[in-house]
Every structure is written in C-alpha cells, then in structure tokens.
Amino acid sequence: MTGQTHSPIIEVAGRGLAPIIQLIGIYVFFHGHYGPGGGFQGGVLLAAGVLLLRMTVGAENSQAHVAAKRTLTNCAIGAVIFVGTGIVAILGGGYFLDYAHLPVQWLEPAYMRYYGILFVELGITLGVMTGLITIYDDILEVDYA
C-alpha cells in the first residue's frame, strides 16, 4: 500500500465544501455586531476552510489557493491594520482604538464607530486566518518561500 493517494470522496468533498465553509467564515466576521462572532471566530472558520483544502487536495496542489509564501506577510498586514487603526485614533486626538476620533471628515461619529470596528475586525480576521495557516505549514515543514 505504498503511494496511497487520497480517496476521491474525501478530495471532492473538500473541494466542494471549502467555498461554503469560507463563506460562512466571512459571514461570521461581518455579522459580529448582531450575533456571536467577530474577527477571531471568523478567522478560525476561514482558516478551517483553507486548511480543509490543504489536507484534502494536498499541500503542494493547494498552493494555488492560498500560497504559503504570502501567509506570513498577510499576517503582518493584519496586525498592522489592527494596531495602525488604534494609533491613527491616537493621532486624531483620542485614546487607543477610540474610533470616534478617526480622521475621516465625511462620516458621523456613530458610523465612524461602526466602520472602525469593522476595519479592526478585518485586521484581526486576516491575522488569525493567515497565522493559523502559517502554523499548519510550519508544522508540515512546507517551505515554498
């Protein structure tokens, strides 16, 4: 039983279910205001969708989906978005992550809070998702950098 590849059931199920899982992850991220969810949970579900493809299609083949060499950069970008929003709020005259003081003139403070939270959650989602994928790739010792 050498050279055993995956059975087609698992592979096709992975290909078919991964988009659904990723969409549910994005939904959880967007609807953090109304229900349970938010950046961290959405990021975990997104990472689950990507890792499902990594596991079923194979680490090499699923590089076309999310490349391993980009994940660490994206993780850093997510962290920069999170911290950067807070620092911009400080520069605008408020406290750290004080969304009402973001220097965006054409928005009401209430809307600014809404979009500020969404923006920070985007950073968290990106960071958590790509961080988890980076951990998986690192454990597997996939190095396509």
Partner: protein, 209 residues
C-alpha cells in the same frame, strides 16, 4: 504532470467551466442571503464582495488536477434527475437509520459483516463520489475505500451485499450522466475479501448467477 493536457481542455471547454462558476456563485449568494437575514443594500453588497472573493479563490484551484491525475469535471449533470435522486437518497437515509437501529437493538444482533470489492464503470470521478456516498447512506453498507475503479465496501449482512452486487444503484448514478444505463453492464469483478487485505475467493458476476 497532466498540466499541458489540462490547459488544452480548459481552452476547449471554457464556456462550460464558466457556467459552473456562475452556478457556484449563485448558490453561494443564496447561502449568504439565508445566513445573513439583512436584506438592505449594504449587506447585499458585502455579500456580493465576499462571494466574489471566495469564488475567485476557489476558481484558481479548480484547474489543479486531482491527486490521481484526473481532471475535475462534473458540471454536465442532468439537473432534474439529480433532484429526484436527492429525494430518493433522503428516503434511503431514513431506511438505513432504522435498519441499523433495529440491528443494534436486536438481542442476538444478527450481523454477518463482510468486505466486498467490486469494479465499477462509472464515467467520471464525481459520479464515483456520488456512488460512494450513496453506498454509505444506504442500509447496511459503508464505503471503505475507492482506488481507481475499485470500490471496497463493508456490508453488515449478506442480503445487503447481494443488493449491492446487482448494480442497481450504480445504474441510478449512471443515469444522472448518461441517458441510458442498465444495471447489467455496470458492475464487474466482484470479490469478497475475507480478511482486511487479502483476497480469498474471487467470483465473477456471471458465476454468482
């Protein structure tokens, strides 16, 4: 490995693949609307952007061949037959659940497990996957492995194995893709594995009859 031939297929069948992507995007959008429950413009725009992102990410991997070298095809399903098939499958789930529950609660537990191996002639990998999942969901049988054309199936009792061997379900799956498909020509090379990994007796279908 099969990269060059794959790209040629992409060029010739481009419209078909495009259609599949649009279908996927519509299904995902419906999923988003069901999940979201906010029908104002802002949330629908978010949904459209998310669906575009997801479809774009998964479009790139749909060109990668499967690990056994075959291309991923399967958008040529006959749709109304597929819907009927799904209802039939739902009924099979109910039947198989009650059947295994009956076996569990029977005091003497009349099971006689065996591993059956057979070869199927279904046209493409997706049909094989549908057949595998259907076998798992029908009473008393569980798909254990699919390798190339060979299915390895664990059957709980002997009657179920006979039903499996008759090729009836394969013809049902085959009719999702082909217009005519008879049970007699689908299933060949049946053998019953007595232990997990070795073949004791190999009986062809004709001899069994």
């Amino acid at each position: 490995m099969a990269q060059s031939s794959g790209s040629e297929q992409v060029q010739t069948g481009f419209f078909k693949k495009y259609k599949a992507v649009i279908l996927q995007a519509l299904l995902l959008m419906a999923l988003w609307l069901v999940l979201s429950g906010h029908f104002d413009l802002e949330h629908i725009i978010y949904g459209a952007l998310s669906v575009l992102l997801v479809v774009w990410l998964n479009y790139r991997i749909s060109f990668v061949p499967m690990s056994n070298g075959e291309q991923v095809v399967g958008s040529n399903v006959i749709v109304h037959r597929m819907i009927l098939y799904l209802f039939w499958l739902l009924w099979q789930i109910v039947k198989s659940g009650t059947f295994v529950a009956y076996l569990t609660l029977h005091p003497k537990m009349p099971i006689n497990p065996m591993i059956v191996r057979f070869r199927s002639k279904l046209p493409n990998p997706l049909a094989k996957v549908i057949l595998g999942n259907s076998i798992t969901l029908t009473p008393g049988t569980l798909t254990v492995d699919i390798k190339d054309d060979f299915f390895t199936v664990h059957a709980l009792i002997k009657d179920m194995e006979e039903e499996l061997v008759s090729g009836d379900m394969e013809a049902r799956v085959g009719r999702l893709y082909l217009n005519k498909c008879t049970p007699e020509e689908m299933c060949t090379d049946i053998s019953i594995l007595e232990s997990s990994l070795e073949i004791r007796k190999s009986v062809s279908r004709r001899d069994r009859k």
